[in-house]
Symmetry: C2
Subunit: 270 residues, 2 copies
């Protein structure tokens, strides 16, 4: 369907970021940029694209969505890619054994519109072509978004999934549904602070021997991150929690010689 | 996004037909089949596909949407492709100078759901890759459907447009919104009867010298068809109209020598 009016200026209205985790094919990155442009999105972020960036095949597939391609940002880690966001949804077609809320595209768009309308940043994660998002990536998200596909034929490529979410953003979320002020509930900390909390905690747990066998560590970490993400902590709460961790940690590292010990028996002495 | 559950049977629920007019690339036909399958559609019709049918590239792009590909039907004319349908929408991203209603995807899906729920057939027309639908094809439709794309970046490929309409069908139209009985208003004649009326009328007008210059004929025909389609005639009305045309036509072809002409002038007598 041709029909672009090239005389019109492209405006960069506030909208969710699209984050592709380890995309393999340049063509899919380009088609994603095009799909975003069709519905007014422009903030595309890539985590470790297999063939590097920039990518000629992406340019060819983008059908002149130059205003998206020019602004692509590449990150070494998902954590860095979502550092400035305060609402992150993971798109997936498979159910995961995680204690995460599952939303449809309309509800996700409405939530993002409220959030972005309140001046905050939101993003949608999309997985690699072959096997989607890893569980440790899904664990970083506030909720899962899934599309109402036919269960017997559920396979969508990345650009199609992005197209549908972008369409929903414009149709159902968009600027029209943004509220004039933000809810108190939306004051979650920027994601980099949450990641800081995770890394702090996991580092401490590594030292403490919490992860009994190395092969169980990844799933234990995911479960922890999932639980902690659901809390939607504020910056102040994260500072408090990190203080809690440090405090407990320090107690074992540098036992307080002045402490008394009426009942508690098993404290290290060195 | 992987996630197909191959243990589930594919069901062919009632839904709109997707009609591609002169598709050029097999890949696009295959991607269209896949997009349809994602949201439970399966009736794909091709009008004069450039590279014939079956097409290996279509199979490769369809990602095993075999239940759609196996049922593809190929037609020589658009008229034949929509002969059994009673509600036809033309998708286009360009505004046309036609007296046709323009619908958004949600409204189109709701209308189709009501129609199909009443046991009738509906279809969506999609144009060729390069320049979409021709005006004489749009003229055959009851209304135009257009997607809420960004006007400054409106270009969607066929499979993406089909994907979005299929998604809307499932999300907004689907079986859930079908009413248990059909409205009286929906008893329009099958499209082949309307085409019969058009051809009858245009043949008569060719004979009658209605089309003053050959280069104006196409646009005059389109305007006529557009006007006549909007009426949503019943079969009975079409028979009546054709009787009217024949009657007028016959009078000129074989003037009745017995006709009298004082006051009651124009009644055929044979």
């Amino acid at each position: 369907m041709a029909g672009t009016d090239t005389s019109l200026p492209i405006t960069l209205a506030p909208g969710p970021a699209i984050i592709l985790c380890e995309p393999q094919l340049g063509e899919n990155i380009g088609s994603t940029a095009r799909a975003m442009a069709n519905f007014g999105l422009w903030d595309l972020r890539l985590v470790r694209p297999r063939d590097g960036w920039p990518n000629e095949k992406a340019v060819a597939a983008a059908s002149r969505a130059d205003h998206v391609l020019e602004r692509v940002r590449v990150f070494e880690t998902l954590e860095a890619a979502i550092a400035d966001l305060t609402l992150v949804y993971a798109t997936t077609a498979r159910s995961r054994d995680m204690q995460k809320e599952v939303l449809g595209p309309e509800e996700a768009s409405s939530n993002m519109a409220r959030h972005i309308g309140g001046g905050q940043g939101a993003g949608l994660l999309f997985g690699r072509e072959r096997w989607g998002l890893l569980n440790d990536e899904v664990a970083m998200a506030d909720a899962i978004v899934t599309l109402p596909v036919e269960p017997a034929f559920a396979s969508l490529n990345i650009a199609q999934a992005v197209l549908l979410m972008s369409y929903e953003w414009r149709r159902n979320g968009g600027a029209g549904k943004a509220l004039p002020f933000s809810e108190g509930l939306d004051e979650a900390a920027p994601r980099e602070e949450l990641v800081g909390l995770f890394q702090h905690l996991e580092g401490v747990l590594d030292q403490s021997g919490f992860f009994t066998t190395p092969d169980k560590r990844p799933s234990m970490v995911n479960n922890l991150r999932t639980a902690l993400t659901r809390g939607r902590f504020t910056s102040q709460e994260i500072r408090t929690l990190r203080g809690v961790i440090s405090s407990i940690d320090r107690r074992h590292e540098r036992p307080n010689p002045n402490r008394q010990k009426p009942q508690a028996k098993d404290e290290p002495k060195e």
